[in-house]
């Protein structure tokens, strides 16, 4: 009895050391985000690895009905043309005055055929409408109805190469962010151009924003300008989350 308990304890200690080791190895693996030797980001990476190992990859978030739609604050950037600190603010102002007819979304990088899509092009592709909960990292939540084209359709139209691992997004308010292919190809990950039955408004990310439903709200980037498929992890450096002190993976 006593000796078997000892073995259990020893095993537990070995397991503990192994997972602590895993924390450091994780920072060096090419499919995992870099930690820059930062203890906080090592914790994030451990969460990411645990989610990808333990959670069902294809699980869908709960979808609600139209009646469940709630009030929804617009936070962060609410109009990229209003601030000159964004290099693309005047470009956005021009697009806005033309009701986004001249807006183009380029899809490039590790794809067989780089493409650009106009808003009309995206609306011609099969659409998906979903009523989901937006979970803001600040602590509030809101339910909205989103209409858009599944990101997987757009990526497949461009032909993702077998070496591809991540999808990187650029926005008109000067952010760059990325998600892994599991989230990028998830059925509820869409490029949304409609919200609550209307065209997406400027405060909520017009003309097109991303919806990544299994992560916190800030991963659902507004004001998209460019999509780049990459082989290696990249999160935008100075314009991305990690260098600005935020977690890259926020499945939480």
């Amino acid at each position: 009895m006593n000796s078997s308990r000892l073995i259990t304890r020893r095993r537990a200690i070995v397991m503990g050391l192994a997972s602590a080791g895993g924390l450091f190895v994780a920072g060096r693996h090419k499919d995992l985000p870099p930690t820059y030797g930062n203890l906080l980001r090592m914790g994030d990476t451990l969460t990411y690895a645990a989610h990808r190992t333990l959670l069902p990859g294809e699980a869908l978030v709960r979808e609600y009905t139209e009646k469940d739609v709630t009030s929804f604050p617009a936070t962060g950037t609410t109009d990229p043309s209003a601030s000159e600190k964004f290099p693309l603010s005047s470009a956005y102002r021009a697009l806005k005055s033309g009701e986004f007819r001249d807006w183009r979304l380029s899809v490039e990088g590790s794809v067989a055929r780089s493409q650009t899509f106009s808003l009309a092009d995206l609306k011609r592709l099969p659409s998906r409408t979903q009523v989901t909960r937006h979970t803001c990292e600040e602590g509030w939540t809101a339910i909205g109805q989103w209409t858009g084209v599944p990101l997987s359709l757009v990526l497949n139209a461009a032909g993702i190469l077998p070496t591809a691992r991540f999808v990187l997004f650029h926005s008109y308010d000067d952010w760059i962010d990325s998600i892994d292919l599991l989230d990028a190809l998830h059925p509820q990950t869409i490029l949304a151009y409609g919200m609550n039955g209307r065209d997406l408004s400027i405060p909520h990310g017009a003309p097109v924003r991303l919806r990544v439903e299994r992560q916190l709200g800030y991963k659902s980037m507004k004001y998209l300008s460019r999509i780049v498929v990459t082989d290696e992890f990249a999160d935008g450096g100075k314009k991305g989350n990690i260098e600005n002190g935020w977690a890259w993976y926020t499945g939480i």
Binding site: G43, L55, T70, S71, N196
Partner: protein, 242 residues
């Protein structure tokens, strides 16, 4: 009297560090949005259950004029925020999770050792005969009069002491973990039962907060008892094990 087992002292130390980090970062996270709600949804444009005056974000009022989403003007609205909120969640949340990870393995070890090693049954869980009304009443009176037995440096524990430890181990700690997981969009996609269990994301967040308050009360009482029963003796017993 028995001294604290080494595994109890180690897990107590780890839990202490983790609790301090979780409590501090949890408070910082709450400061970013000091409003609590019930159900699935809650934000600045919906009514709050409780508003806590704990940061400059409390009722900041920095909103442009609201506009309705639908023809019904009394229905859901949207508004642009114009106020630069206090938000230290970048490091706050990551440190919160790091402190939680730090507790996962020792916590699991502690639970398994406690269950299978007999520690919980022998020392923590109150025995049926101890729960006779006159015994409970006597222990309550002793505590109210602060008549605290001097430190023995380990089990056996008093009746209310056992009840408090049982509450922390079997009620509060599991509630903290489950409500924490219920706030994860990725985890609840895989395990939607977590949201049903607490009645929604915001309910889970509110239960998470009040369980923290209960734990804070426990820690305060725990510290008072440690001091009243002989601080030096108790600290030595729980650290070096003498």
């Amino acid at each position: 009297m028995k001294p604290h087992a080494r595994w109890v002292r180690i897990s107590h130390g780890i839990a202490t560090v983790s609790f301090v980090a979780l409590a501090f970062t949890g408070f910082v996270i709450l400061m970013a949005h000091p409003r609590l709600y019930w159900g699935e949804v809650g934000n600045d444009l919906t009514p709050a259950l409780i508003e806590l005056p704990i940061s400059r974000n409390y009722q900041h009022g920095g909103w442009e004029k609201a506009s309705p989403f639908f023809a019904d003007a009394a229905g859901p609205i949207t508004a642009n925020r114009t106020y630069e909120i206090f938000n230290q969640n970048g490091w706050g949340r990551s440190l919160h999770f790091l402190a939680a990870w730090w507790l996962v393995l020792p916590g699991a070890m502690y639970l398994l050792s406690g269950i299978f090693g007999g520690h919980f049954r022998a020392h923590i869980w109150p025995k049926a005969k101890e729960l006779a009304p006159h015994l409970v009443w006597r222990d309550v009176l002793d505590h109210l009069r602060l008549r605290i037995a001097p430190a023995t440096g380990g089990p056996d524990y008093g009746l209310l002491q056992k009840c408090a430890y049982s509450f922390v181990i079997f009620v509060a700690a599991p509630l903290m973990v489950l409500t924490g997981l219920a706030m994860s969009p990725a985890v609840t996609a895989g395990f939607p039962i977590l949201l049903r269990l607490f009645g929604g994301y915001q309910s889970a967040r509110t239960v998470h907060f009040f369980t923290f308050v209960a734990l804070l009360l426990f820690v305060s009482a725990h510290l008072v008892m440690v001091i009243k029963s002989g601080f030096k003796r108790q600290v030595r017993a729980m650290t070096v094990g003498e």
